[in-house]
Each structure stands twice: as structure tokens, then as C-alpha cells.
Symmetry: C2
Subunit: 319 residues, 2 copies
Amino acid sequence: MEAATTPALGEVTVDLAAVILAVTEGSPRVLTVQGEADAEWAGEAGRRWVAERTGMQLGYVEQLYTFGDAGRDPRERAAGARVLSVAYLALVREQAFEAAGATWRDVYELLPWEDRRGGEPEVLAQAIEPALSRWWLAAGDEPTASTTTLDTAGGSPRERAEVAFGLGDLGWDSQRVLERYELLYEAGLVGEAGRDAGEPERGGHAQARLGKAMALDHRRILATALGRVRGKLSYRPVVFELLPEQFTLSALQRVVEALAGLRLHKQNFRRLVDRAGLVEPTGVQAHTARGRPAELFCFRREVLRERPAPGVGLPRSGR
Amino acid sequence: MEAATTPALGEVTVDLAAVILAVTEGSPRVLTVQGEADAEWAGEAGRRWVAERTGMQLGYVEQLYTFGDAGRDPRERAAGARVLSVAYLALVREQAFEAAGATWRDVYELLPWEDRRGGEPEVLAQAIEPALSRWWLAAGDEPTASTTTLDTAGGSPRERAEVAFGLGDLGWDSQRVLERYELLYEAGLVGEAGRDAGEPERGGHAQARLGKAMALDHRRILATALGRVRGKLSYRPVVFELLPEQFTLSALQRVVEALAGLRLHKQNFRRLVDRAGLVEPTGVQAHTARGRPAELFCFRREVLRERPAPGVGLPRSGR
DNA sequence: TGCTCTATGCTCACAGCGAGCATAAACTGG
DNA sequence: CCAGTTTATGCTCGCTGTGAGCATAGAGCA
């Protein structure tokens, strides 16, 4: 690591990655766009950049993270340069599945352990817990990397795993998406880990890989994005970027649940968005297939002037 | 802006910026280090990179933001390339003022309107409010830029200013540091604005500039960092990265107050950190100059296993 | 009509937090 | 030694937010 003072000029390649999220039919979907582009992105130029590639009109856009780990892109070896990806997160409204040739992927097919709407997914107890505990036993109990930092819980592989996945009596923190993915990666439980290590494809008896792998480090980027959105839900009105102008409270709740990967208490959810002033009734009834018809609501902009952090506040421990 | 599809290879220069924060003698201080370096930073290599330049041992480090606006660096014109800075935020413990030639600067000399520990600073009512209202009157009431996004409050210059600075009966949100700086920049109230526009230095009768200017967009980066730290305070135990191993609750409170720029209710602060399980008593008394001696406490690591988001939770509206 | 399904209203209990009163333990100058 | 100052620490009151559940409303269907 003596390279720390190496000048970077000309040795770094920069590209852009956009993680576009939508919620369709009750499931979060992702569209990843990556490519070279001008460095400026956050403004209108970035919206156009994506629009050109996907034919979509982006709503909310924010910078997500800049990924630059060594070995994250095979082009590095080819070009002899570090490849840096500046990733952006964008939210778009529910829309046609196949928009202009773009292919949406179900987020929870890529990160199955993140969906707890149907209770704790069996992949956790069946595959993840036993594999992780085998891993931390093998890894020993020395704290990983930087003990200097108080933040990254504990430090020992075991403690990190327990906190990230809420094992034992610890609660599930829906925002720790990246921590979980990185643990699974370190423990070799996701396909990318073996691939990046240059292992051949595993055969039948091998450990089942969790979720579907993605190209490069796209799944890590997706995990970062999902964690970010989940966090943002509780203090910014980002959900409304994913919904049509008017919606029923149930629809709103379904979108929140889809992103959070949690089931929420219905009455309390209504009370929350109502009393927080996030929505206002339109007086119009939705025509529903079954059951009592619901009223349509819309986002109440004034809440931005009233509350410093308007959001839907997920429960602390999802179980 | 047809450049959106321009390939970036070779046209982008990347460097690193580190914003190092400490709290000394009750005031937050900043040390900015910028320079070319290897792209990988987050890990040990980055700590060494800073250690080489400043002789400091970093504690907590996280990636802050990647700055890449056009025109942010004069080298762009020279090199004909966009300059991208990947900025990191680091926290270090209270230490000698002059560490190995590094010069600390008082954060609130750079962003004076952010310090409300002595009540609302007079610069707000005296200079900022009148200048901002002149600005929004001149700017008209058309929503700025992207109305597409529901998030960025309101959109009209006036509403943005009112929300960011908590004008009228709106509350002060200590985290909106960047929003405030950018508004002042847009309104031409900080020195960098005129400089970047190529104006000559203002003479006597000109509008007084707010706070001390910094090179390039360092002050914007600092504002980003301060906002991030303030946010982090409430859900991560980052304060303890700035304090010695053992500390009195008053010392802890002073550091939090320094960062938040707010005065906190003493008894409630004690109750908070105590009942949240953030600290544990050591049984040792501190030898104080005056008043009843205080007990020394230390960070309680177990809290990381008990709470999903351990932090000190600042009040929503500081007034 | 009774059943199912979804929407909506309301209550209870408890935790968290803002504000303030009260006391404790050191030092100071008379 | 006492009164006054200063800082630390303990405790209470009241409001709000939130988790959990009971109950009712309104629509379609057998």
C-alpha cells in the first residue's frame, strides 16, 4: 500500500452508475445503467443522460456513493487504471414494466434476505445463519480491520454478523443492507465473492449462493441504494416520488412496505401519515375491486414548511 | 449540455479531499487536506495518506461526497479536464492546536451563522435575513430548477430560504448546513460567489461578506461535512471519536453542543445518554477547577448491540 | 340476509422528551 | 464557621409519539 502517494492524474477512469428504483405491483424493482459520461450529473444533464438511455423521466435524484475499491472492475487490469464509479440513486414512478428496452429486476430476487414482509424469510434460518456461524468460527474472534473506530459494531466477525442480521435477541435494522451484503460477500455466500476470487463455477454439492448475482459490483451498489432509500423514508417524503399524484393510503403503505421490506400496522400507519400532515384527502373515492372503497389522497407539500424531517418512520426492530 | 454523452476517459482528473474535524476548547475546528492520491482511500491506506501529511492518527473516516460541478476548480481550464474531488470526512480526538504544521481553523469563523449556542447569532437578523429577502424579491417567485422533485422544499427562492434558515415561525434545522451555504452562495453573500463569477474584490460600500472564504469550493465541502456530522450525531455514537477515553458528561455535552451549534438542556442530556446506555460510569471523579467534581464516564460499547441507532438526538427546532 | 373484504375511527398503555424544581458537593471570601 | 457561587446530579410533571388491538363502516357476493 505504498501507493498512497502515487499521483492519480491519468491513472483513474471515471464512469457513472445510476440505480433507478421503482415499485411495481408491490415489489421494488431496479434498473441499473452504467456508462461513461460527463462528470456532472446531479442536475438536468444527468436526467437527460438517463432519459436518453432508458426513455424515462427521473423524479428524485441524489448522489449515492463513489465506488473505487481495487479490483472492482476487470477493466482495471486491461487499462492499467483504477476505475471509479460515481453512483447516483434515482426514483421513478410506477410504470410499464418494459420501458424502452430497459429490463427491470426484482430487488428481492437479488437480495432475498431483505424482504421480511412475509415474516422472517426462511433463507435466513436455513442458509444464512448456519453459514455465517461457520464462517465466524473459522475466522476466529479477532476484530476485523479498524478497531480504531467505535462505530462499526464490535469488530469481531461474530458480533458484526449478529448485529447486521439481528441474530439472537437483537432486532432487525432494515437500513443495514450494505453491512449485510458485505458480510455475505466476505463469508463467500454470494456468487460475486467466488467470481471475484477467480474460482470456477460451483457445482452441485457446493454451498448454495444467495440471491442472483449481478455484473461487476452492481449488487453492492444496489445494496447501498436500498439502504439509503430505507433510511431516507423516515425523514424525507421520498415515497411520493414513487407513487402517482393520487393514491389510497393502502397503496402508499404498500410502497413503503415494499421498500422497507417490512409489514406495518395498518391503523398506525394511517394515523402516522395523517397526523404528521404528509397527506391530504382529495374527497375522491377510488374504485376498488373488493371491499369498502378507499379515499384518494395526495402529498401535502406544506409539510415541508412544518416539519424539519417529514417521513414515515419505520419501526426500530422489525420483529 | 449536449456533452452528456461525451466519453469521460482521460478527460477527468480525480483528487482527494479530507475534511478533518476536531473539537478543541469548546469549538469545532477543521483541517482540510487536498491532493492527488490513489483512488482507494476508505481503508488503512487513507489513514496513512492523512497521517503522512498531517502527522495525525484518524479515528472515524467515511466518504462524504464527490464534488464535480463544472467550474469548481481553476485547474479545469488549464488542463482542459473536469476535476473531480472525492471528499472524505474524518474525526480526530481533541489535540494540540498545531499538529505537525497543520493549521486548524475555527468552523464557526467560516460558517458563523451555524453557531446558535449563544442564541440566534446577530448576523442572521442583521445581515442574512434582509439580504436574502432582497435576493428572493429580485429573483422572482418562480420555482428554481427541478420542480419535479418534491423533496427540495418548495422550490421558490423565498420558500427555500425560509425553510433553510428557519425564518418566520419555522424552526432551525441544524442539519441543513449545505442548503444554507448554497443559498448564501446563490444570493452572492459569501466571498466565493463573487470570486467564482470573476468579480474584483469588493470595496468599502459593498455588501459585507459572511464568514471567511476558503480556497476553491472548500467551504462548500466543509458545509457538507458539518451537516453530515450533525446528522450522524443523532443515530451513531460519533461524538466519542472526538473525546478522550474518559470524560465528564459536561465535556460530552460541550462537544455535542459545539458540533450541533446548539445549547442543550443539561439534565435532559444526562438522562438521554444515561438511559440510552451510551455511557457507563467509571467511578472515578474528575478534578475540576470549580464547583462540584464530576464523575468520569466512558463509552459503553454494548449499546451497539442493544440499539439500532445509538446517538444523542438533537432537538428538532433549536428555537 | 349474512359473509367476506378492505377502509376507517378510536382507545389504552407506555416510552421519550421538553421544562423546570430541588439537592449535593466542591470552592470562595467574610 | 457561614453565606454565596459554581457545577453536578436526582426527580417530577405533562405532552406527544407510537405499538397494539377493538370496533365500526361500506362495498360486493353467495
